[in-house]
């Protein structure tokens, strides 16, 4: 008995040898045999190895002859924008054997070729083997692309009749990161510097090429281990007989070998199979990941070009391409290709899929962001191609929020496609591939979670695996297998299509059918009464760290989501006062936010330059929004509390913003304290000096914060402090020296809220392995490191409204410092905690524990459009797997008559615990970005004990107030407020005809409101559905109401 432990890769093998390696070639289908005491390694050659060896020889015969093109020139460049470059050299000669490309470099190559006399009347190919991504122009026209997955393009269509010479230009971008880490061959090719292997005009040996495709197909069947063992042995035996017919010097006999295969393997029907698999051509494209987004215009253009060239040669080929943003880029930077693409779309061969502007992360963006992903995506498709896409194509996102079905359904999307839950879940097998997904409000969409990866190379074994894993077999129909390389690997290849043409010859293959994505969805999901329903979020049991990694991005995203809300609303209100609505600028700003919500940007799973780009975008976006918000009266409100332009003497002198007029953009009266910047204020919050006050401001109205209560006359008698004990009108508190609360007792009810660590920081080891930025492991608590208290908690500031306590902690070896500022208030029960960290760790995570004196099994979490309840016990594997979940502005752990909420301003990771929860504050991962999260952080959260449950306590409103500061604007308000619904957004419709109010029910209530105007109800794409006077709503429903602009402008101001 023999153990074959290793199989050497074939010398010189590129192309498909790697596929065999991946598929397990040369290894006895996972079978290991051992003798009693000694492992024996076979050194002889197995029949499949013999076939495999000769497969490599056949491959060498594909190029019949080639003629080198000499006199090439190359120029180095560095890409600085989507279509801008800094040239690093002039053109210089490029010869075979030269080194070319440099880190992150682009090259431009040009030359002249000629079709040699020997190829007259024969098919001529441009041949170039490279590890880079290249767009090739022949005589000024886009002829195709070359990369590690394709090394040639057909010259004939691009040569003028009778002309035998041609010029060519190449733009190439180096690809250090292969499109797929399972792709062993491209792993071997990766690197910043490459050796130029020469450019050629070549003739193919068509007989050898056809045989090569047969062998590729059959060796996969024979060696991948997914097919019947007898059939595998049969194929190997017959293949070797066929390969015996070839002379490997002249390649004579290739046609005879093909005939043998046809007669002895393809015609054999003794072996049967079952199954029905739909094959959809697709190329996944990360907008940023191991590359900056400036490279995506070119990656995308090359992908589109290559797929269109395949359509030229294979008219029956269909291909699905997603993300309207990428089409927008093509239209802008490659208009010639875009014009050609439009024709292919009209013909139905090139299929735009995915209604969303990009493939965003679907955990962290708030409801309005996801709505805009659909709105701007669909409106682009309508404008550019006259279509509305009925599917959401999100194969690679890291789980999907429960709020999505409603947003999709109301955006013209009936079908949802996402792969990750089927293949990435680390604990439980997601039980469906085809199902109805029921959302938080009860909306349903058809959902497809394909059984296998979204990047495949259309190998028989991959298709068989797909069918084998399909869980709705009993219901009949087809399962979905996407094929095509991704991320600049440029989709389908000629080989994938040639294999597809041979599938029906193989009796052991499931039945396959190549089709469009929408055809698959309509045929297999629409009106399918057998579908079961999944009612809940689509939680991915992996990548749980992406709720926390790169916390700056998350905080910016949250802040800008609300700032965009204010900017649109205030622009509408100014419109009422005669100003023009800056629609184009607002749309561009929104798109910049949406772009950075891409599923490898906002989650933090990218290289450092991508982070720098995103932060640059966010800074620019904030500056543009501040300019929009401050348009009417400078950087901040100009009038003081009494409406005077000049600040009064004394307290306001020199103040930048104190005492000025603000606007409450929320559609209810605020009940939280506000921090008002003022240079003489007693508190420093997030680096800015100011004071706290409880402003009186009605819904959507002007607010005049009170005078800052500073100076010796301030009454601080509301606070009593004795050592680590403090008493306020609300609480008796006993602090620990490290800033956690040992006791938090409600003075009115006598209720104690703590039961263990409460506001207690923990520093955990956080070493998830290769997927460093993505994952948190379930055992993260196993190793904990102590914080040391550098400065014990002590009172640092107090006035008539607030008191501030400070503590300074250090991590081991004093690597990081962590200052916590706890603020108590005289007039409100919230306790604000500001965290100021100088963070310099590796593989550490900080969480804040909140163990509460509360008996509950549910953690109520904000989703941004309603709340979701998560179990805190670990009864089943499903609950165990959810040891880290995503929430939005708040979470709440409560009994029937009271509990504890914690409101955040940009933290999403949350660990449900038996006695409450832990809020994830910071991580320090090193892959893909070594500097991830390093440096200074300053963020706040609010601890809010309350009576009743979260809805009765209006936690959602308090969370809005915490996240939406008063707007420095003098606009007059609206004469209506839509209470009790939440005004999620207000904007001018994209066609400029309606003022749109987006109203959300977020408290789980049912009811109706009478509209204060004659309005229309719209879908989320701003299509009018019907007139509306009374608006009936159900729990968690999102409604879009339109008011004609002329009616809006006539309405009297409040």
């Amino acid at each position: 008995l023999i153990l074959f432990t290793a199989w050497p890769p074939l010398a010189g093998g590129t192309g498909k040898d790697r596929l065999k390696a991946r598929a397990g070639f040369g290894i006895r289908a996972g079978k290991e045999f051992s003798m009693a005491f000694v492992k024996v390694v076979r050194r002889g050659m197995l029949p499949e190895e013999w076939a495999q060896l000769r497969y490599g020889w056949v491959k060498r015969g594909i190029i019949k002859r080639k003629f080198e093109i000499t006199g090439l020139e190359i120029r180095d460049a560095l890409q600085t924008g989507e279509n801008t470059y800094t040239f690093l050299s002039d053109y210089r000669p490029l010869k075979k054997g030269d080194m070319y490309f440099s880190p992150d470099g682009t090259v431009f190559i040009k030359g002249h070729g000629a079709i040699p006399e020997e190829l007259k009347g024969k098919e001529a190919w441009f041949f170039l083997r490279t590890a880079a991504e290249m767009i090739v122009k022949i005589d000024g026209r886009y002829a195709g692309g070359i990369d590690p997955n394709r090394d040639r393009l057909l010259l004939d269509p691009w040569l003028e009749e009778g002309k035998r010479d041609f010029s060519f230009e190449i733009e190439g971008y180096n690809r250090s990161k292969p499109d797929d880490e399972r792709n062993l061959d491209t792993m071997a090719l990766r690197g910043c510097r490459q050796i130029f292997e020469g450019a050629y005009v070549a003739e193919l040996n068509r007989e050898v090429l056809s045989l090569y495709y047969d062998l590729t197909l059959l060796l996969d069947v024979a060696c991948a281990g997914t097919f019947d063992e007898e059939y595998q042995r049969f194929v190997v035996r017959e293949l070797n007989k066929a390969l015996d017919l070839i002379d490997y010097d002249s390649f004579e006999g290739a046609a005879a070998a093909s005939r043998y295969i046809e007669e002895h393997i393809y015609r054999n029907r003794d072996f049967a199979s079952s199954g029905n698999v739909a094959l959809v051509g697709h190329s996944h494209l990360d907008i940023a990941y191991y590359w900056r987004r400036i490279h995506v215009a070119q990656k995308n253009a090359r992908t589109v070009l290559i797929q269109m060239r395949l359509m030229d040669r294979y008219p029956e080929f269909r291909y699905a391409h997603t993300q309207p943003y990428t089409y927008e880029q093509l239209e802008k930077y490659y208009p010639e290709l875009f014009a050609e693409l439009k024709d292919k779309i009209k013909e139905g061969r090139f299929e735009p899929v995915g209604a969303m502007y990009v493939e965003p992360d679907c955990n962290i963006p708030a409801a309005e962001s996801l709505i805009r992903q659909c709105l701007y995506g669909q409106h682009y498709y309508r404008r550019a191609f006259g279509i509305t896409v009925d599917n959401a194509w999100l194969p690679d996102v890291f789980g999907n929020s429960w709020i999505l079905p409603q947003i999709l359904k109301k955006s013209g999307v009936d079908y949802f496609v996402s792969n990750k839950m089927s293949t990435w879940n680390d604990t439980n097998r997601f039980p469906h591939n085809h199902f109805l997904w029921k959302g938080i409000d009860g909306s349903e969409v058809y959902a497809c979670v394909p059984p296998t990866h979204f990047i495949t190379w259309n190998m028989p074994s991959q298709i068989k695996e797909n069918w084998d894993a399909y869980q709705e077999k009993e219901g009949g129909g087809q399962t979905l297998s996407m094929f095509g390389y991704g991320d600049g690997g440029s989709g389908a290849t000629e080989e994938m299509l040639e294999l597809m043409a041979r599938f029906e010859k193989l009796s052991v293959m499931p039945k396959t059918q190549h089709m469009r994505a929408d055809e698959f969805l309509h045929r297999n999901l629409k009106d399918n009464l057998g579908l079961e329903t999944w009612d809940g979020e689509l939680y991915l049991e992996m990548h749980r760290g992406t709720f926390t990694t790169k916390s700056d991005l998350k905080a910016y995203n949250r802040r800008l989501e609300f700032k965009l809300r204010d900017a649109e609303l205030i622009a509408l209100l100014r419109m009422k006062e005669g100003a023009a609505y800056p629609g184009e600028e607002l749309r561009e700003c929104y798109k910049m936010l949406l772009l950075n919500q891409f599923h490898d940007i906002l989650p933090g799973s990218h290289i450092h330059p991508v982070y720098e780009d995103a932060m640059r975008d966010y800074r620019e976006l904030e500056s543009r929004l501040d300019a929009l918000l401050g348009q009417e009266d400078g950087a901040a409100g100009a009038a003081d509390a009494l409406g005077r332009e000049d600040p009064p003497e004394g307290a306001f002198s020199g103040g930048l913003t104190a005492g000025r007029q603000y606007f409450n953009s929320l559609n209810w009266k605020r009940e939280s304290v506000a921090f008002i910047p003022w240079k003489d204020g007693p508190f420093v919050r997030k680096g800015e000096r100011g004071y706290f006050c409880l402003p009186e401001g009605e819904a959507l109205s002007a607010v005049f914060p009170g005078r800052p209560p500073v100076g010796g006359g301030d009454d601080t008698s509301w606070l009593k402090v004795e050592g680590l004990k403090a008493e306020t009108p609300f609480y008796s508190i006993r602090f620990a020296p490290d800033g956690s609360l040992e006791s938090l007792c409600d003075r009115k009810t006598g209720r104690e809220w703590t039961d263990g660590g409460f506001n207690k920081l923990h520093l955990y080891q956080d070493m998830p392995g290769l997927y460093d930025a993505w994952d948190i492991l379930p055992g993260y608590k196993d190793v904990e490191f102590p914080f040391t208290v550098e400065e014990e908690l002590h009172l640092t500031a107090v006035d008539g409204a607030a008191a501030e306590f400070t503590v300074l902690l250090k991590t081991p070896q004093d690597k990081s410092s962590w200052r916590m500022l706890l603020r108590l208030f005289k007039d409100v029960p919230g306790i604000e905690v500001e965290h100021v960290a100088d963070w310099n760790e590796k593989h550490r995570m900080v969480k804040a524990e909140f163990s509460c004196n509360v008996l509950s099994r549910e953690l109520v979490c904000d989703t941004s459009a309603g709340y979701i309840r998560r179990e805190t016990h670990k009864n089943t594997s499903w609950q165990k797997a959810r040891f880290e979940v995503c929430h939005h502005k708040w979470c709440d752990f409560a009994e029937r008559d009271g509990g504890v909420a914690v409101i955040n301003e940009g933290k999403y990771g949350l660990g449900p615990e038996e006695k409450g929860f832990s809020l994830s504050l910071l991580r320090s991962t090193i892959r893909p970005d070594i500097l991830s999260d390093m440096g200074r952080h300053d963020f706040c959260c609010l601890i809010l004990p309350h009576q009743g449950d979260a809805v009765e306590a209006k936690i959602n409103r308090r969370a809005y107030e915490f996240n939406v500061p008063l707007a420095p604007s003098r606009v007059k308000g609206l004469p209506f407020d839509f209470a009790p619904l939440y005004l999620q957004a207000a904007k001018l419709s994209e066609d400029g005809k309606y003022v749109i109010f987006r109203l959300g029910e977020q408290d789980g209530l049912r009811g109706q409101v009478r509209l204060p105007f004659k309005g229309v109800l719209m879908n989320l794409l701003e299509d009018v559905e019907r007139e509306a006077e009374i608006l009936a709503y159900k729990p968690f429903e999102i409604l879009t109401v339109g008011m004609k602009v002329e009616d809006y402008l006539e309405k009297r101001e409040k």
């Binding site: 560095l78 880190p103 992150d104 990161k177 191991y290």
Partner: protein, 77 residues
């Protein structure tokens, strides 16, 4: 040289998913720590040659580069 490496070379390498850090420059030998993807690159010597050429072209100095790869724990094997 340190400024040159940090401003011209490091961003290029980072743009390709790699990571380089200046350590020292003594007697014509530039020591660089390589992390991230560079730490396991099978053709790092080509990149090192490129760095030497860039330095020669832009600063006119002949240097040798001493690479100090630092693999993260998950690539230790």
């Amino acid at each position: 040289l340190e400024e040159y490496i940090n401003s011209r070379i490091v961003p290029r390498i980072q743009g390709d998913g790699g990571w380089a850090e200046f350590v020292s420059y003594e007697n014509g030998e530039l020591a660089l720590i390589f992390r991230g993807e560079c730490s396991k690159c099978m053709i790092l010597e080509r990149c090192i040659d490129w760095i030497s050429q860039e330095v020669k072209r832009d600063l006119g100095e002949e240097i040798t580069v001493k690479p100090l790869p630092r693999k993260p724990f998950f690539w230790d094997n």
